[in-house]
């Protein structure tokens, strides 16, 4: 039993160890493959990846997209979830049904094409806002997650605030939303992870404008470079740059991550 656990753990860690150690090797060392640990730590790889392979730019783009998507998703989904939880409105069940089916209906790449064309029509294809809007539009899972959190906040609280003369919007932003902080944190973590790791969407949008590439796209594109074989050490350094922030967030929030994911199946 312990052997199985150990072997599985080692196999899980193997590519990560290889990435980290590879990121410190010289190009020549990578070419001959072999050794687990680098002969000498080449910190220069990171500097080179950061500057020469443009990872500074990619990191900024990734951060911009992820932060905007996280903020946007939380705002759009929390407002909608609040109304859907507290109020009745015509077409409510239709709205909720559509949101639910949005989680399951997916024709993969096919929806990307009309989405892309729409962004071209709005002149948003030359910025990252196209990617951001599309990612925000996929907010149905956040919607349902937040609705669950809203249910836990007693309605009497809203009513009391309203009686005291606080308007609807004010009550939401000043009283209810602050109480939702833990829920927003968890939902935000998921939205951030999703947008940080997204590959196909930014790939499609940055085909003609390399300046807008995110980390995932920029890194995968290094593979097609003419001297890709010579640059494996740079690729590994780049991979570390793109994995580490997420990994760090994960290690810090490990408990929350695991609990929430585990909870999501219990419905």
């Amino acid at each position: 039993m312990w052997l199985f656990l150990l072997v599985t753990a080692l196999l899980t860690l193997f590519p990560l160890v290889m990435t980290v150690s590879g990121s410190f090797k010289t190009g020549a060392e990578m070419m001959t493959g072999g050794s687990l640990l680098p002969a000498k730590l080449q910190f220069a790889n990171y500097a080179e990846a950061w500057k020469q392979a443009n990872f500074a730019r990619y990191t900024w783009n990734s951060a911009f997209v992820s932060i905007m998507v996280t903020a946007g998703t939380l705002l759009v989904a929390s407002m909608a979830a609040y109304v859907a939880d507290r109020r009745d409105f015509p077409g409510k069940s239709l709205y909720v049904t559509v949101q639910a089916s949005m989680m399951f209906i997916s024709v993969g790449a096919i929806v990307l094409r009309p989405q892309f064309d729409l962004m071209v029509a709005l002149h948003l294809n030359t910025t990252l806002w196209g990617v951001i809007l599309i990612l925000i539009s996929a907010h149905s899972s956040t919607f349902f997650m937040l609705q669950g959190f809203f249910k836990a906040i007693p309605r009497e609280l809203d009513e009391a605030a309203m009686v005291d003369g606080s308007g609807f919007i004010r009550t939401f932003f000043r009283i209810i939303l602050p109480l939702l902080t833990p829920g927003l944190g968890v939902a935000g973590l998921f939205a951030f992870r999703h947008s940080w790791n997204e590959y196909i969407l930014p790939l499609v949008f940055t085909m003609t404008s390399p300046k807008l590439q995110t980390l995932t796209v920029g890194l995968a594109n290094l593979r097609y470079g003419s001297s890709a074989a010579m640059q494996i050490h740079l690729m590994m350094a780049g991979a570390c740059l793109s994995i580490l922030p997420m990994l760090l967030a994960y290690i810090l929030a490990n408990k929350t991550f695991i609990q929430v994911t585990a909870g999501s199946v219990k419905g």
């Binding site: 590879g22 493959g33 729409l118 590959y199 991979a239 994960y250």
Partner: protein
Amino acid sequence: MNIKRKRFGENSLFLLPSIVLTLALGIYPLLWMLRYMFYDYAGYGEALFIGLDNFRRLARDSMFWESVGNTFIYAGGKLLLTLPISLLLAVILNGRLRGSNLLRGIYFMPTVISTAVISVVFYNIFNSYNGMVNTLLLKLHLISQPVDWLGPKYAMLTVILVAVWGAVGNYMLLFLAGLQSIPQDLYESAAIDGANAGKRFWHITLPMLAPVAQMVIMLAIIASLKGYESIMVITEGGPIGKTEVMYLYLYKLLFPVSTGSPVTQQLGYGSAVGFATALIVGGITGLYFFLSRKMNKVY
């Protein structure tokens, strides 16, 4: 009346962003596809209505049907490896075990890492002439010659292994959640009655886990039929189409891809392929749902 109107205004204000985004970027693309699957439309120039011609072409498209076959091999291989491993891990970690939190953390880690990025890493790891897997196996004298992991013979196996690496932790966690809802006293009374670990697994764990497992397996089926991101990065569907899966083929029809691909961009036909692909995935999911419900009744 006034209050009603005010409430309506407030509700609309809060719902509007969500509704607009869903309509524009969720519903409209679907309608777009339903329309263009009856058109001959390359993506530029004029769109020509051609009725059902795209579906006739689809029926004869050997590349599409090969990709369907590949999808089944890929999804089947992934499920056959992922589900038992993740269930086993979940069952072991469900017991009181030292270091189980650390292990959970390790196994779940791949799910927070970008598929595309880790696929770049795997591409280098499985590289045939200087990849780390080959070097390691050569050093251990397990093989005498480098294995061409990304060649026609093993490419499918390689992409399946990468997919399993990324998925095990996720399903382990879902199984674990299911296991934790099984009342502990069931095990205790069974142990008193003299049931050993194997018997307890077959007669308590499996039946009690069945409802959760039914859902987890369905999620796993959908995810494995739909996954193409890592294949796109590692092999681009090659060599000679050996790892071309449905969604990757679909992608190639809708967006210009690197030279050397035999698939040319065709939005009208792509829409028809997208529709067929969605039907196939939906059909399999529905079939699984139907069969697993029937099995539940038999028990």
